[in-house]
Symmetry: C2
């Protein structure tokens, strides 16, 4: 049973509303916030003045935004960038990057590093990630940054409590407990999230007009990932990160998938599957090493040039994705789809077979109306999603009324 609503919950929720309004677009006046939240001017005045005193918000004076109007000018409020900071870490095949981000969401510094992820076992991988974070933090320590949180995005399945990477194609290790290790190394909370889920979160922050309540983000890369936004909330599985679109079954007992099962969508549409099909390999051929993006581009060029085995491979892939989306639409209803990742560069070849397949499913009613947007470069989205996820969690600590900021972020504040 949900717990009763006490009196300070009210203030907490309204503080959260103010913070959310400023996260969506920094620099808003008190009047704008009042209109946005539906709260009265007096309430906003009370809330913001205590938040300014706490150091959460700052007044941006002397920014006249050009048009001079009659009357007392609005004073823009903004998140205090020096209040706190977070680190957004991204672990992908052969690469790890760590970005230090201030409380207002601006990137401060970044550390990128190559890494033979496929050859690193659990502990070594964890230490490589820790090392990357440590480097950027050491560099910025003199500027007084002590992050409040670390958010790690990985390719693969993560646990629903955001503590572990349960499985990933980039390493042989299973159930890698990144979060406790990072938390221990830096003395702050850490989380591990699925990369596609972070992309989905990011799309909503970046383009709230287009990606609002319901949409799917399909990541086409070596594997096939998905993030789902359902009724305005990130849809994650009940135990894991969920949304394993790539492992829905396309053909029962069909082609061998990287996961060891047969007939998954990925076994037709993943990069390795494209190569396998185009080269006339057997569907039982064990998926080999990760395919370079250059190779896929060559494959796509060949498919565009002539109606050979390459084009057939893309048709087969599109068909698998399309039928999968059709099945998904049967359960969730049709919604806009964002095609993210390197595969988006070949979407011109994929779109028609995808649409054809969707049209052959019951879930694909009005398939022509379904919109597809492409976004080949997924890294900025993953980082944005990570940053916003971590900052939102910091916000959740800050909104507790009565707690002074010092208590919440003891010693982690910028000097």
């Amino acid at each position: 049973m949900t717990v009763g609503v006490r009196h300070d919950d009210l203030r907490r929720r309204n503080r959260a509303l103010v913070l959310t309004a400023l996260r969506a677009a920094n620099q808003r006046s008190r009047t704008e916030i009042a209109n946005l939240t539906g709260l009265s001017n007096s309430t906003i005045s009370a809330i913001t003045s205590s938040m300014i005193e706490e150091g959460v918000l700052v007044e941006l004076k002397g920014n006249d935004n050009g048009l001079a109007r009659r009357g007392r000018p609005q004073v823009a409020l903004a998140l205090n960038p020096t209040l706190a900071s977070v680190v957004a870490v991204t672990l992908t095949l052969n690469h790890v990057s760590a970005v230090l981000i201030d409380y207002a969401g601006e990137a401060v510094d970044e550390e990128v590093q190559d890494l033979a992820t496929q050859e690193l076992e659990g502990q070594a991988l964890i230490e490589a990630v820790i090392g990357c974070v440590r480097r950027v933090l050491t560099r910025q320590r003199e500027n007084g940054y002590h992050p409040s949180r670390i958010a790690l995005a990985v390719q693969g399945i993560t646990s629903s409590d955001s503590s572990s990477m349960l499985w990933s194609p980039i390493t042989p290790d299973e159930n890698t407990r990144f979060a406790p290790a990072l938390a221990a190394a830096f003395g702050v909370p850490a989380t591990v999230e699925n990369d596609c889920n972070m992309i989905t979160v990011a799309l909503k922050w970046r383009e709230p007009a287009r990606y609002r309540k319901d949409f799917f983000a399909v990541m086409l890369s070596d594997g096939i990932g998905m993030g789902l936004m359902v009724k305005g909330e990130l849809f994650s599985g009940t135990h894991s990160s969920g949304g394993e679109f790539g492992h829905m079954i396309h053909i029962p007992d069909g082609a061998l998938c990287r996961c060891g099962k047969h007939g998954c969508i990925e076994a037709y549409a993943g990069n390795y599957a494209l190569i396998r099909t185009a080269r006339g390999g057997s569907e039982e051929d064990v998926p080999g090493a990760v395919v370079s993006q250059v190779e896929i581009q060559k494959l796509a060029d060949a498919a565009r040039a002539s109606d050979g085995p390459e084009r057939a491979a893309f048709l087969k892939a599109g068909r698998a994705i399309g039928f999968g989306l059709g099945s998904l639409f049967a359960v969730f209803d049709p919604a806009p789809v964002a095609i993210v990742g390197p595969g988006a560069l070949a979407f011109d070849i994929l779109e028609q077979p995808i649409r054809d397949a969707i049209a052959r499913t019951a879930g694909g009613k009005h398939s022509a109306a379904i919109s597809f947007e492409t976004e080949p470069n997924e890294m900025p989205l993953i980082r944005l999603g990570c940053a916003m996820t971590a900052l939102t969690k910091v916000d959740a600590e800050i909104i507790v009324p009565g707690l002074t900021t010092e208590k919440v972020l003891k010693g982690r504040k910028v000097a």
Copy 2:
């Protein structure tokens, strides 16, 4: 942006908490409610006393529940059954029923009626439903019942605003706008919901211990339906009732489905598909009239008796359901499954092929651990789900503080 929390929202939410506690188990003392909700005794005292004055709750005196303890005895509070009432209507193939239910959730009277649903066009079907409701209400009018709401459950797809039945196998009509018609006929709000969704809601009310946060209800009948409970909430589609498990694709371009597309799970596991397969019909044979349950029972008996075409048909059906569940588990993660409806009587034949198929999918990790419960008789569940859905909506009107009950339920109260 969510609207700000004002002061009376607080009281409203806490009133809702009290009401929910009593709906889950009628007859609780103030002290029990305080412990359950986490609110203080004084708050519960204030809330319940105003609700008693409004006629929402009643004190049940002199019910000593057996054990006599020291101290002032607890006074049981209960929902006032005469405060309001709702009608739960169920429309299935060839039958319509209307049950009058009091505010405490007890059935008062029921009207069941045969109906040639497949031959009735929209308006005639609507009027038949209205007639059934009218009969039970006319009979009970002398007892002072004036329902506050009507909830209709139908087989088929309904709109997400609960106004229309978009498509149903029981009638050729499409987009039948039941809700406005019922609302106009009886002058009270009406809703149309999908039967499987109602079953899912009902399971949670009836067996909260087993069916709590995450589970799937699969309805095996002429068609294949599904209701999904995800994170404690009924999962419905973004535009329609959603959860059209039966129309996820099992075999791309496979057997002809009743929906006109090919390869849906239903085209292998629906009653008509079982008959078609067992009799050696082509997968392109157009699904005929609805199959009688007796016929399916005979088929199941034959399948149990010997390894002939009947058993092969059930194997094929189980395989389709199993692969479908595997795909679903990939997206939602594994969860308990309730097998509801007449098909549950043949679950002994279906279980093994279902489990075998799940084990062949990536989503079916730990497939042996997935629990299946069967419930052949779906009607009581549909009615319970309808009743609770309608009563919960009545509750939502009642919890608004300051509104006296007379204002909310003007003239609809029992005399």
